[in-house]
Symmetry: C2
Subunit: 153 residues, 2 copies
């Protein structure tokens, strides 16, 4: 897999994530399908910040980006979706083949070392998983005209 | 990607799918989170039959497996999960390198030709997506002790 193929696969899902996020009105930010669920706001920002953190871990070669705290104050989910998507694409496109191949010590987070490419595969799986959660949230908010789970082409 | 790597990635998610399916009691088979949602039974069998059909398309080299109708009568979701998972692993393990590389005419379904390996990647994405839906269903049924979205190792 090249960086361009990974970025393409990421965006084929992220563009759909953002389409769903853009349907969530501010009045629904605290919506939870069940008492133990993440709120719509927390789930959306979890998706956005996680991929950015995973990509940043591959770039830096260590787990330090996982500890960064984000400040969402005063921003809408739509603003955050646009901002994080751009930041994530920028990091992905800056990765070298060496970044993809080198093993990163992710033992503290995942119990073992992982090559950058495998960490990005896990990041894409994580995005699809939580986007799958988000579809149910958005349908429960009353939206019935929802996009296909991935963009082709 | 080798057939063994693809099978491993498939099972890392399918084992979690099955863990969720096994939590769904017969009294909840018709449960829907929203009026336009698939029922828990339909969503579960859609996940199980889709991957089997995608793998069979890669094996046969044409779209004919997509037209096969399945008969679920008298079977529990747990039975179906075990049955389809085994059948799917059998097909995946029978694939050759040539099956993974050759372009399949999937124009009628996806608008273009796709190599077998890419069709299987889409099948895994499809599984993760709908498993992500299923997490919300199962949480709404009252289950709070849910597995991680993917099995490591």
């Amino acid at each position: 897999m090249t960086v361009e193929q990974i970025t393409h696969h990421f965006l084929a899902h992220r563009n759909v994530t953002n389409e769903l996020i853009n349907k969530i009105e501010a009045g629904h930010y605290e919506y939870k399908p069940a008492p133990t669920s993440m709120s719509a706001f927390d789930l959306s920002t979890h998706i956005l910040t996680s991929f950015y953190a995973f990509a940043s871990v591959v770039k830096s070669g260590d787990l330090s980006p996982l500890g960064q705290k984000a400040d969402f104050s005063g921003k809408s989910l739509s603003d955050l979706a646009a901002e994080y998507t751009q930041k994530t694409v920028d990091v992905l496109r800056s990765l070298s083949e060496d970044d993809l191949n080198k093993a990163i010590d992710t033992t503290a987070a995942f119990g073992r070392k992982l090559p950058g490419s495998q960490l990005l595969q896990m990041a894409i799986d994580h995005e699809i998983h939580h986007k799958g959660n988000l579809y149910v949230y958005v349908r429960e908010m009353g939206h019935t005209d929802l996009p296909l789970f991935v963009q082709f082409g």
